[in-house]
Symmetry: C2
Subunit: 382 residues, 2 copies
Amino acid sequence: MRCEMQFVLEGQDPACGARAGRLMLPHGEVPTPVFMPVGTQAAVKAVGQDDLEKIGARMVLANAYHLYLRPGVDIIAAAGGIHAFMNWPRPILTDSGGFQVFSLAELNKVTPQGVAFQSHLDGSRHFFTPEKAIDVQIGIGADIIMCFDECTEYPATHDQAADSMRMTLGWAERCLRHWKERGAGGQALFGIVQGGVYEDLREECAAALAAMDFPGYAIGGVSVGEPNEDMARITAFTAPLLPQDKPRYLMGVGSPEDMLFAIEQGVDMFDCVMPTRNARNGTLFTSTGKVNIKNAAHLRDFGPLDPACPCPACRRHTRAYLAHLYRSGEISALRLNTLHNLFFMVKLAAAARDAILRGEYAAFRRAFLKAYSTNNGGTEQA
Amino acid sequence: MRCEMQFVLEGQDPACGARAGRLMLPHGEVPTPVFMPVGTQAAVKAVGQDDLEKIGARMVLANAYHLYLRPGVDIIAAAGGIHAFMNWPRPILTDSGGFQVFSLAELNKVTPQGVAFQSHLDGSRHFFTPEKAIDVQIGIGADIIMCFDECTEYPATHDQAADSMRMTLGWAERCLRHWKERGAGGQALFGIVQGGVYEDLREECAAALAAMDFPGYAIGGVSVGEPNEDMARITAFTAPLLPQDKPRYLMGVGSPEDMLFAIEQGVDMFDCVMPTRNARNGTLFTSTGKVNIKNAAHLRDFGPLDPACPCPACRRHTRAYLAHLYRSGEISALRLNTLHNLFFMVKLAAAARDAILRGEYAAFRRAFLKAYSTNNGGTEQA
């Protein structure tokens, strides 16, 4: 009964917490830091698995709540698991669905035992317990699965955040026990640190989870509406509390700047819907900052979106064409924009890794942020 | 002053009018019969130019009315023409926009001189003459351009159809003259036969156009709401009236069955929005007939959409996954479905060509229709 995941640290920046590692998972190796595109419904919005391979994505996310409701775990299991279902041969991580149960579904009742809720799709009634969330995720079959947690909302008082965190801790113990009972075989289970914006609660939660000895750890409950300073403070405070030899995953973060900040604090894994959602709204990341492709100025710009970018959209098309597609409501605009933003994030994490291995992470981050702020002095604002 | 297009006939089926040919155009060769995906706004809906290359599309359509309004001919010309603008290196045909001026725009006035209309996008006022339509298309820079015509609506009385056809004939003469005055260089100009469902009018129009000696000919004004028998009758009647040594293009047709029928009558070129529109609505062509991917039965079908199909969607994904994507509202469903339907049409035209070259077209068509009707006896209906 041992987890099939291995994690090795390959480098540590001498001047900060940034680290380079390698996750070895049943479906392949993932160099870290890594940005994982979000494929909520077993599909990354607007792109195909062929596209994800083309841009070098090493690992993607899916969501247990969504997949449990549609198409259902039985269908994914009958397909041979999520890798076969979506024909994505590389590693996958599933979020437990805790966040969605609390944010999307109509809640009927939360007790320490579990959560009764109604589907946001059809109103059907369901009951999730920590054990059930593990069973669902084992049925789906990702390489990494997450504990069922309550994502403490923002704002929350210290008492509210403490109660919520302690319930999450109790659920984490049950998840771990059930995962071990089920064999702890194909999936690595990650514990999730909650505690809101309160450092004492984050510390208590991290210590308790570390004592349980999970294969990996996540920082949850950030990027939920709190000021960016709080997010940065909590990330910087919490990351070093997590076991040094285990992978660290910052859930739902973030922007290019936030990702580079968190890497400096020693975080290894990232996911965020922002790159894909921004892409569909016409906001594109470039080496000199954000570009709003809806701006009229781009209609006559026959250069690439980002001359420094070798992504499929920048290699093949001009800003003028991307701007035309977007204005014309063409579906292909969504795909090209998404390809570009995902490529940007995936390559940014890979470049950060290279810089760490060279021992030059701080300089790398400084140079990136300087170039990335160029557009902020001009007319480009997202 | 000569057109850069050449057309050679490479084979003629001994038992019917079907013919195999080769169009040599400034941007490459196109074996015929050919199905041209429709890229109205310089983009085929839901797929990229990389996808079109992958499925073997040899030539695509764009629309002068749409491109004239957005992004404007000046932008396309400044990009270096439509091939550079959309970065599609292979041949392109533009429809003159006559059909859209009459069907989409708010019409202000039609006179023999031209048509005053308001943009369907912003209500701006424009005046199209045959000369202007040629100038617009020369500015866009496709390999093949079309005369500005009035697409006679259905139903129309014999008098209405005759008046309309004669106006189209007058416009065709002006298009031809203006095209020659402009050098007749990069583009091949096709004349369009109108005349509604009336054979005498079709005959008169075809003869008059043939006497003008266009580089190629189209049959227009079909698939505009008339019964399928009328479409078939007019196609069968008109195609043989067109010069044997020139390419023949049936505009806006059609279904797999209609295309194979028209090939038998000696038509060489086809375009239709049906494969792409059907794909976005979940109706997919297969070797055994149409499949509605929305049907619940597909949710647990872990085989490919069409085991006989080597398209990217069928090679990589199952019916279950395509059905899940469609139900989940994923944008990638539209791309995969479109890839499949376009591949189906492009390959069907190519297979028809092979059969013609083998002298076995009638048997090929019979075998296709037999297999294609399989689903009609079952539960699959579009």
